[in-house]
């Protein structure tokens, strides 16, 4: 029952918040209590249940990696809910926001705990389409454009992933999600199906080259919504990959290499792109892409075989957990500098600093742990070129540090209010910060098997100490920090763009365009089409409209239809059908 409740409560909260103003006044509490069942599921040890009577058998199921992600999701939604309740206190479209918020929350929880393909897809779609409402919330031109691009990409993604899921169900012969990876490992077209899923979920994850909606959409939403978008919902795509990937069962070298190299391309490229941006939220969005790239790398390693799923997947989940909490903290943090004044600012900077460190892999944070995990697995895999990849990993740590220092720098330019001021939404932020006790302790979430594997049975505390003192793990962050300090201090500072981004946010397409005129001309038509998507509130049907606006098309198909309406043509089609069919019958 708890399974149903954990999905229904957010939905209920959404509807209540939509209907009743009284409820909206206590929306924070409402959303926090709506996350409690999910939180309980994330902390408990229940594994799953099958509900026979509900829509063609519904399965609920949790394993270690997904439990970690569920825990992360529940924490983030609770914090974001509290934050949103006070952040949007005077917002005109507050009730719509709460509605979409609750619906997306239900979808997010639902997809994590569902154990069969149908409900997984349903909840995935619910979350995707509900978060459209979050992205478009502020209704500025920027938000509208971001939202329509988001919607177009989301629909493209849905098409790919529903095809992948259909094929996967077909090859496994059952709707149960857990049966898919082994079935794909066996199936002759397993690689193809996984590739479809890679693209489909890749849209959500923001993998290269499908990411360009993300730096637009995540910053467009209000701060708490960005936090859950970047912290929790982005992980849904990762979960989708984990459902499809036959980690440890196969040796798909080409797919594995593809994923690893795309992952590193994201990790490095996105960070560099991000450096050119002037909006702190866009900065963070690029950082999310870059971090998701690292997680892509980890899954990619898994596809090469040799590392069992029971070890790799919890590690990926832990990485997601660490990144999610920290990223949510930073996203919500972007709302703070303009509102927090006086001595509270110390607390704020401390919190932001911890968040940045946690992502960059600073000492005493979960980030260090997770970086170490990646390093361990990269060292163990027999993937060709693992040495280069280790180098790239280090490089990505540097770029990440640079990117996040830049983020802090951008925040510091925001004017502080006079006096000792603290907005009411500082409280949930601080709560999230304290939930950050998990960052250093988060490895406790890992299964014992994996811990033993990493610590080589040396005992956790000894290992922990070892890690802190490990220069090898710390030098990238130091270099990054140093470079940043120099940048800020000296020559670059004057020229560093702060008003207008060096490159327009997000658009991978722009890069392609710069690559050359011939390509640009070829793409111009497609781009026009895309432009017409972006101009409107609701995009995808514009594609049809575009084709429909062609008078000739309408004329031709209209006259075809009316000629079908002529009695002679009716007769001819009658006889043609008759003859063909007669030929086929016995």
């Amino acid at each position: 029952m708890i399974w149903f409740i954990s999905i229904l409560l957010p939905l209920l909260a959404a509807i209540l918040a939509l209907l009743s103003p009284a409820v909206r006044r206590v929306a924070g509490l409402l959303f926090v209590s709506a996350t409690l069942p999910a939180l309980w599921l994330g902390l408990s040890e229940v594994t799953g249940v099958t509900v026979q009577w509900f829509i063609l058998e519904t399965h609920f199921f949790l394993d270690t990696p997904r439990r970690i992600i569920l825990l992360l999701t529940a924490i983030l939604w609770a914090a974001a809910g509290l934050f949103a309740a006070s952040y949007l206190k005077n917002d005109a479209r507050q009730k719509e926001f709460f509605f979409y918020f609750g619906a997306a929350m239900a979808g997010n929880f639902g997809l994590l705990i569902s154990g069969d393909v149908a409900s997984f897809y349903t909840f995935f779609a619910l979350m995707t389409f509900a978060s459209y409402g979050l992205v478009i919330h502020v209704r500025t031109p920027f938000a509208r454009r971001a939202a329509s691009i988001y919607l177009v990409m989301a629909i493209i993604g849905e098409l790919f992933l529903i095809t992948a899921l259909y094929l996967a169900v077909q090859s496994s012969g059952s709707m149960v999600l857990a049966g898919i990876p082994p079935a794909l490992a066996e199936a002759p077209n397993g690689q193809f199906i996984f590739l479809l899923g890679l693209i489909g979920f890749g849209v959500k994850v923001g993998a290269i080259p499908l990411y360009f909606w993300l730096p637009l959409a995540h910053p467009a939403a209000p701060a708490p919504a960005s936090a859950v978008l970047s912290g929790a919902m982005i992980k849904a795509g990762l979960v989708g990959w984990m459902h499809l990937a036959p980690v440890g069962l196969v040796e798909w070298s080409s797919l594995s290499l593809l994923m690893v190299s795309l992952g590193f391309a994201s990790a490095l490229g996105a960070a560099i792109f991000g450096l050119t941006q002037v909006d702190p939220k866009t900065n963070l969005a690029y950082s999310s892409i870059s971090q998701m790239g690292v997680m892509t790398v980890m899954l990619g390693i898994g596809l090469y075989g040799g590392i069992p799923a029971a070890l790799l997947l919890p590690a990926v989940a832990l990485y997601a957990f660490n990144h999610g909490t920290a990223k949510a903290l930073l996203f919500m943090g972007t709302a703070l500098p303009a509102k927090v004044g006086g001595s509270w600012r110390i607390l704020m900077w401390a919190g932001l600093g911890i968040g940045v460190l946690a992502i960059a892999g600073g000492p005493l944070t979960g980030g260090l742990w997770t970086k170490y995990l990646v390093k361990t697995f990269l060292g163990e895999t027999s993937l060709p070129g693992a040495q280069t990849f280790l180098l790239l990993l280090t490089l990505s740590a540097i770029t990440t540090t640079l990117l996040l220092s830049r983020f802090l720098h951008l925040l510091s330019r925001i004017e502080a209010p006079a006096g000792n001021k603290a907005p009411s939404f500082l409280l949930p932020w601080i709560l999230l910060l304290f939930a950050g006790g998990w960052w250093t302790m988060s490895p406790a979430l890992l299964p014992a098997e994996l811990m033993n594997h990493i610590t080589k049975e040396k005992g956790i505390m000894a290992f922990f100490w070892n890690l802190i003192t490990n220069w090898g793990a710390l030098w990238p962050i130091t270099i990054g920090a140093v470079v940043m300090v120099f940048t800020l201090k000296f020559a670059f500072l004057n020229r560093w763009p702060t008003e207008k981004p060096l490159l327009p946010a997000g658009d991978f397409i722009h890069v392609i365009l710069m690559a050359g005129d011939p390509v640009a001309k070829g793409l111009q038509k497609g781009l026009d089409l895309l432009q017409s998507f972006m101009k409107t509130l609701h995009g995808p049907e514009k594609l049809f409209y575009r084709i429909l606006d062609e008078n000739r098309t309408i004329k031709v198909s209209g006259s075809a239809e009316s000629s079908l309406r002529r009695w002679e043509i009716f007769g001819i089609s009658f006889f043609i059908f008759f003859m063909t069919m007669f030929f086929f019958l016995r």
Binding site: R566, E568, I569, G571, I572, F575, I576, F578, M579
Partner: protein, 327 residues
């Protein structure tokens, strides 16, 4: 020898059917249709289906033919005017008329192929045996002696009941489609003294003949539908003779007459269900009597419906013009 008659009849029917559709003049077409209907009735006499022959002659050729003739009243004159100038009728440029030829050629080819296949299907038909034997075996229990009546009103009474419903439905449809005011009684045509005398003379004869057909239906060819058409003919004649029968009676009576066949049939069926039987499962002892009542009421209802259909169609042009034509 007799087979020659059949072949001749078949050829005549096919010729009439084709000619009826090909002739350019509408009025010819309707008269050929009359002739075709009579030919069909003859064919049914040749096939020993006297009941069907009477029904065909009366309803399909007679009643429907009268309806078509009546329709000519509105269509015919304008058609003959337009005959002089073909292009005006079609209102199409020449090119389009040319484009009609190809589809028609293809259609005729398709028809020819279809014809061969159909002929093969009919020729190769296995002998299924029919239901004569079982009908004969159960005939004594049916309450009537004529097998067709037994099938119509007992073995397959459900179909017959629905069919009475279809006629009523057809009348409702004519009301709707013709844009006829439901509550306006059909008015009378201009009375013609000659016609009136004839009608006054013919009416009782038709009535008696109808009653005879109805009664004879129990033992031989004849029955409700045939009687109904004759009685319906009375109504039509009276209408033409300036005595629109339904304008003379109160509306509730009209409705009662219209629905009593269907209603009695149904109420009887429901009573039988209440009695623990199934719909239309008559108690064998009363079967003959019940069937006679049903036939009588049914015939009156059908006659009323046919009369009303004719009267309303006949009055259509004078009736309306209240609904604005919209384009």
């Amino acid at each position: 020898m007799s087979i020659l008659i059949d072949i001749l009849l078949a050829i005549i029917m096919v010729y009439l059917a084709i000619q009826c559709l090909l002739t350019p003049r509408l009025i010819q077409s309707v008269f050929l249709f009359f002739a075709f209907g009579l030919g069909l009735a003859l064919a049914w006499v040749r096939l020993g289906a006297i009941d069907v022959a009477i029904t065909e002659a009366a309803i399909a050729a007679g009643f429907l033919g009268v309806l078509f003739l009546d329709a000519l009243k509105s269509f015919a004159p304008k058609v003959s005017v337009k005959q002089d100038n073909l292009e005006d009728i079609y209102k199409l440029p020449r090119r389009n008329i040319k484009s009609l030829i190809l589809p028609r050629v293809i259609l005729v080819l398709g028809l020819a192929l279809f014809l061969f296949i159909a002929l093969e299907a009919v020729w190769m038909i296995p002998d299924g045996g029919g239901l004569t034997a079982s009908a004969e075996a159960l005939l004594p229990q049916s309450g009537v002696e004529h097998p067709v009546t037994a099938v119509l009103l007992n073995f397959r009474a459900y179909d017959t009941w629905l069919e009475i419903g279809v006629i009523l439905l057809g009348l409702l449809g004519v009301f709707v489609a013709g844009g006829i005011k439901l509550y306006k009684k059909p008015g009378a045509s201009k009375p013609d003294p000659m016609l009136r005398q004839v009608i006054l003379f013919v009416t009782p004869v038709l009535f008696l003949f109808g009653a005879f057909l109805l009664y004879i239906g129990k033992t031989g060819p004849g029955g409700a539908f045939q009687a109904a058409v004759l009685w319906g003919a009375i109504g039509i004649l009276l209408h033409l003779g300036g005595k629109p029968i339904f304008a003379m009676i109160p509306r509730w009576l009209f409705h009662l007459i219209l629905t009593m066949g269907l209603g009695f049939f149904l109420v009887l069926g429901f009573l039988l269900i209440a009695d623990g039987r199934t719909l239309f499962e008559y108690p064998p002892a009363y079967a003959g009597l019940l069937i006679l009542i049903i036939e009588t009421l049914g015939a009156i209802s059908i006659a009323a419906a046919l009369t009303a259909i004719y009267a309303n169609l006949n009055q259509m042009e004078e009736e309306t013009n209240e609904v604005e034509p919209t384009t």
